[in-house]
Amino acid sequence: MPEPVIGEEIRKMESEYEPLLPVEKKLIWYTFATGVGLCVLLVLLSHLFK
């Protein structure tokens, strides 16, 4: 496989910026909120059953 030229890739990305789609924002915040919520719940559960 040819070694990718990262410099060219970065230049291409800078010229063709892809804005965050609403679905991406949802993915980000729903995932994060689920993670924090689960963390609190599992910590409570694990301390409860220690």
Partner: protein, 493 residues
């Protein structure tokens, strides 16, 4: 003029496609071979007793010995030679199965084994390895107190020197520089060893497994979205780059970057580029974090182990960091008169890492679904069960089989437990050798000159910012939340 009729061209059959075994599956087979051979003891066959052990030494002539008393007549060097030859034969067969050049593999492996074992041997020198409780017996006025696992650090440093200053030698060794194969094989063997620990300390081990699973679920969901957001919003990376980058930085390095790249159908160059960066930073973490853990977390050893599994990327570097953290923390505890049982800190790191690897498949599936149905809206392209299976890390199966195998044997036939313990002790010799091979080859593979490549700075900036500004600290917090108050058992006597 009539066109001359050309004779029909006989249709050539396409050459038969040779399907090679993957490195992942190979690690399962080699690990299982070691495991099964070690269990020969249950049938009265001491099949691995000739394998070499290296004790903490003051006189080099007395350092090497066979593992079993049945082979006590063998000189240490003969035992070492037998161990090398056995590994060479098995790995050469493995090299053939994965389609590597057997000759070049054998040449490279010979050098790698020799250098790695020399590092392990040096790391077992009493002045480096002896812990304070052993100094009197060895008649030593002082020692560095690093345990014999300092051999791992020496192997890593020697590997780094070769990888960065001797590119010719590094290229010559390339065919046998396979840290992922070595560490995955070691993890399969480690499953049996951890099974023994669970049988000895059921309550603590079950808690460790449960907390490890909880920690991973949280870490996945908390790490990934923030890294993805930072890469997209503040560094302007495209979706194709941001998703593998987020997985590489936040989850499990190389495997996660590749699985995510496949899930979102990124060009193959993207995960390859991300992976090369992951390997470099994993080595940086490996060199720093275990020492930080020893300094700040020696009172919470299991937190330290879980932290290594959560924060250090790539299987090899994470489990390696767990091994170093364990040796450093046990040494510090021994200086204070506490002898923690070996294996628990490493066990926490490995448990967390194994769960991470299992979760990669699940997360790749979620991303593939989101990308195909929501972002690129190709509802017709469904992720098949076959694809999920292809993305599943197979060495995890080997780990589960050896772990459960020992658990079942020890539970159903408790009278066999002493023999199973001895068998796992012998298998563990090969686990340690595969570990030291991993450390050395990680070093050889880490080419820091890649950091000077044009354009890499932006990629590295996301990595540094997210890893050192977020992942490490949130990983520490999560490890603390789930593992604080949990201590490894102590060795009596």
């Amino acid at each position: 003029m009539a066109t001359p009729v050309e004779p029909p061209v006989p249709q050539r059959r396409p050459p038969p496609t040779v399907v090679h075994l993957s490195e992942d599956w190979l690690s399962v087979w080699i690990g299982m071979l070691v495991f099964v051979l070690s269990l020969g003891l249950l049938a009265g066959l001491d099949t691995l007793g000739w394998a070499v052990t290296t004790s903490v030494w003051t006189s080099p002539a007395k350092a090497l010995a066979p593992a079993s008393k049945n082979y006590a007549h063998l000189p240490g060097l003969v035992s070492l030679l037998l161990t090398y030859l056995a590994m060479l034969v098995v790995l050469m067969a493995g090299a053939k199965a994965i389609g590597a050049s057997v000759k070049r593999f054998a040449q490279g492996f010979t050098v790698i084994f020799a250098v790695s074992y020399a590092c392990w041997f040096l790391g077992s020198w009493a002045y480096i390895a002896a812990t304070p409780d052993k100094r009197a017996a060895l008649h030593l006025p002082w020692s560095l107190n690093l345990t014999n696992e300092s051999g791992f650090i020496i192997a890593l440093v020697v590997g780094l020197v070769i990888g960065n200053f001797m590119p010719g030698l590094a290229a010559w060794l390339k065919e046998a520089v396979r840290p992922e194969l070595y560490i995955k094989t070691a993890i399969v063997v480690l499953g049996g060893f951890l099974g023994i620990m669970v049988l000895d300390q059921r309550r603590l081990a079950s808690a460790m497994i449960f907390q490890g699973l909880c920690a991973i679920v949280c870490a996945y969901l908390i790490f990934w979205p923030i890294v993805y957001f930072v890469a997209r919003r503040y560094f302007g990376f495209s979706r194709e780059w941001a998703a593998p980058l987020a997985s590489g930085i936040s989850i499990c390095g190389v495997s996660a970057a590749i699985a995510t790249g496949a899930a979102i159908r990124a060009r193959p160059v993207v995960p390859v580029m991300v992976s090369s960066l992951v390997v470099i930073f994993a080595v940086v973490e490996l060199l720093i974090l275990p020492f930080g853990a020893q300094h700040f977390l020696s009172g919470s050893p299991m937190v330290a182990g879980a932290w290594m599994g959560l924060a250090v990327k790539t299987d090899g570097a994470a489990v390696a960091s767990g091994a170093i953290a364990e040796s450093l923390i046990r040494a510090k505890a021994a200086a204070n008169g506490i002898n923690f049982q070996p294996g628990w800190i490493l066990g926490a790191a490995t448990t967390v890492k194994v769960f991470i690897d299992i979760m990669i498949g699940v997360w790749a599936f979620v991303l593939a679904w989101v990308w195909t149905t929501k972002i690129e809206q190709r509802a017709d392209q469904k992720v098949s069960a076959k694809q999920i299976w292809q993305r599943f890390p197979k060495f995890v199966l080997g780990y589960v089989v050896t772990f459960l195998g020992v658990m079942v044997l020890g539970t159903l036939v408790p009278s066999l437990l002493p023999k199973v313990k001895t068998a796992m002790g012998q298998a563990n010799i090969f686990r340690a050798i595969f570990f030291v091979l991993t450390f050395f080859t990680i070093g050889v593979l880490s080419n820091f000159r890649k950091l000077w490549q044009e354009g890499i700075a932006k990629l590295a900036a996301v990595y540094v910012l997210c890893l050192f500004g977020y992942i490490i600290w949130v990983g520490l917090l999560i490890s603390w939340l789930f593992f604080s108050g949990m201590l490894p058992p102590t060795v009596k006597g």
